[in-house]
């Protein structure tokens, strides 16, 4: 589905991606985690065809990404800016379908169906700004679903909502994946979230980013916000991912004070154009 080889990208002298290699199989839900400012968004924008990387190759469904791939949708973190306030919720959801052709009626029907999938059938006639943040992000997810992409990219999709809403939206993504079978790449800085949602967790180093960890998550399905999070494997995996994100080798004790002091989070974020 998705093959990334030796992907590099620089903004002037600042190198964001330092050779990323990653393969995602059809139907997989892969979470990409990494320290803030490590180039996660740059990676996502390269996959989405919104940015031309300096080097390397991205293949989506076997075809090199030169422009935005046809079968791809992106859900951005900032739902309030990515939904169009002058359109109703239904119009927002059906807008991308204009690219797919089809008449107004079939587009409207697809929008209603997608809104039902995200649990917002009653919001169709409302405007995005009349909804709460979590509901707005559901609309953004519905918009991606209505488009029926083969690959859905999510850029910190739950970074701007409260904890309760966040859990609901995580479960929504799991449910959507079960029912649609689409491939999802979800970018997050939240370690727990990556383990809870993902089939696989890919850990990026601080910039220039490379893949420093690729862990398969084998937790009992269906996942449950309480039971999964207290599962010994979950606890173990999140520690493992945590160490990798902090730049420690896997298995190294996390409590070592020296290692703590050298963690990448202590360093000032490089002043680079944030994607």
């Amino acid at each position: 589905m998705l093959e990334i080889s030796d992907l590099t990208h620089s903004y002037g002298a600042y190198q964001a991606l330092g050779g990323v290699n990653l393969t995602v199989a059809e139907g997989e839900l892969v979470c990409v985690v990494g320290p803030s400012g490590c180039g996660k968004s740059t990676l996502l924008r390269s996959i989405g065809g919104l940015l031309r990387p300096t080097g390397g190759r991205v293949l989506v469904q076997g075809r090199p990404v030169e422009k935005v791939p046809d079968d791809l949708a992106i859900v951005f973190q900032d739902y309030s800016r990515s939904l169009f306030p002058w359109m109703t919720v239904a119009d927002n959801v059906s807008l991308p379908l204009r690219r797919r052709g089809g008449d107004r009626r079939s587009r409207a029907a697809a929008a209603v169906e997608a809104l039902e999938q995200v649990g917002l059938p009653a919001a169709a006639g409302k405007y995005p700004w009349e909804l709460s943040g979590g509901m707005q992000q559901r609309v953004a997810i519905a918009r991606a679903l209505a488009y029926k992409p083969a690959l859905m990219l999510m850029d910190e999709p739950f970074g701007s909502v409260d904890a309760q809403t966040r859990e609901d939206l995580e479960d929504l993504v799991l449910q959507v994946r079960r029912s649609s079978g689409m491939t999802i790449v979800l970018i997050t800085h939240d370690i727990d979230e990556s383990v809870y949602v993902g089939d696989r967790v890919v850990v990026l180093s601080k910039s220039p980013a490379t893949v420093v960890g690729d862990l398969r998550v084998e937790l009992p399905e269906p996942r449950d916000q309480i039971a999964t999070r207290e599962h010994p494997d979950f606890v173990h995996l999140r520690a493992e991912v945590g160490r990798l994100v902090r730049g420690m080798r896997s298995g190294e004790p996390a409590a070592a004070p020296e290692a703590e002091a050298a963690s990448p989070e202590q360093e000032p974020a490089p002043a680079a154009p944030k994607a």
């Binding site: 935005v68 990515s82 306030p85 991308p96 690219r99 405007y127």
Partner: protein, 258 residues
């Protein structure tokens, strides 16, 4: 303060002003021959409503304004869109705009009268020239203000630049453009009446000039009063349309509770 109370205070202010003027005239502090009594002007204004000549002159002025505004929008909105979307276009046109914009339109009147065969055409040309600027500048700023993430969202679904302008940039800039129309409308009325006063032809300005030459100061002031009222009405109608059409804009700006 509620709207009703605000309106009431406004009415009180106007009524107070009229009463003071009336009193100043009646007591002879202001010679009623020089400036007619407020009551005389008001009766005159009421009488103008039944004056066919006046009404047709108002019609001429308003239609010149409307034609001028339409032509200005047809030029300025596409141009502003191009400038707001393509930085190279903005950079090359900006100095020209900044040079032309401050030229008082009446200074161009002799040129306009020379270039255009009829006075009416010259007047419309000046209206177009003057009302272009607020339209152009507002369109330009409106397009620059479009959220990059909104554009990126549409691009991420594979839409091209033309669709991004059509589906995101222009709707998003629409409130700014409409404000430009409102400002341009009041400017258009000022230019129209000024040209009529200076160059003649037809319109409210000509009606005023004729009344002045007949030494009918009451009629002059009554007609002027109507011009002000027309300007006020056009402005408030457009403002009302703006706030109704672009509820989302105010909601986003946080002026309206959810």
């Amino acid at each position: 303060m509620t709207n009703a109370r605000r309106t009431l205070r406004g009415v009180l202010g106007v009524a107070g002003f009229l009463l003071v003027m009336e009193a100043l005239g009646r007591t002879g502090i202001i010679d009623p021959y020089l400036i007619p009594l407020a009551s005389t002007i008001l009766t005159g204004a009421a009488r103008l409503l039944a004056n066919g000549e006046f009404l047709s002159q108002v019609g001429v002025t308003l239609s010149s304004c409307a034609i001028g505004l339409l032509l200005a929008a047809a030029v300025a909105v596409p141009l502003g869109t191009a400038m707001g979307t393509v930085p190279a276009v903005e950079r090359s046109l900006r100095p020209l705009v900044e040079f032309l914009r401050p030229i008082p339109s009446l200074a161009l009147l002799p040129l306009a009268m020379f270039l255009f065969l009829s006075g009416e055409q010259g007047k419309i040309a000046l209206i177009v020239y003057t009302s272009c600027w607020p339209l152009l500048i507002n369109t330009l700023y409106g397009l620059r203000d479009v959220d990059p993430l909104a554009k990126e969202t549409l691009r991420s679904f594979g839409f091209g630049s033309y669709d991004v302008v059509r589906l995101v940039s222009l709707p998003s800039a629409a409130p700014f453009i409409t404000t430009g129309v409102r400002i341009a409308a009041s400017v258009a009325l000022i230019v129209a009446v000024s040209v009529e006063l200076v160059a003649g032809g037809d319109g409210i300005g000509v009606f005023v000039t004729q009344a002045a030459s007949g030494n009918r100061r009451d009629v002059v002031l009554a007609a002027t009063l109507w011009t002000g009222i027309i300007g006020l009405l056009v402005n408030s109608l457009l403002a009302k349309a703006e706030s109704r059409l672009f509820r989302w804009h105010r909601a986003r700006a946080g002026e309206e509770a959810l």
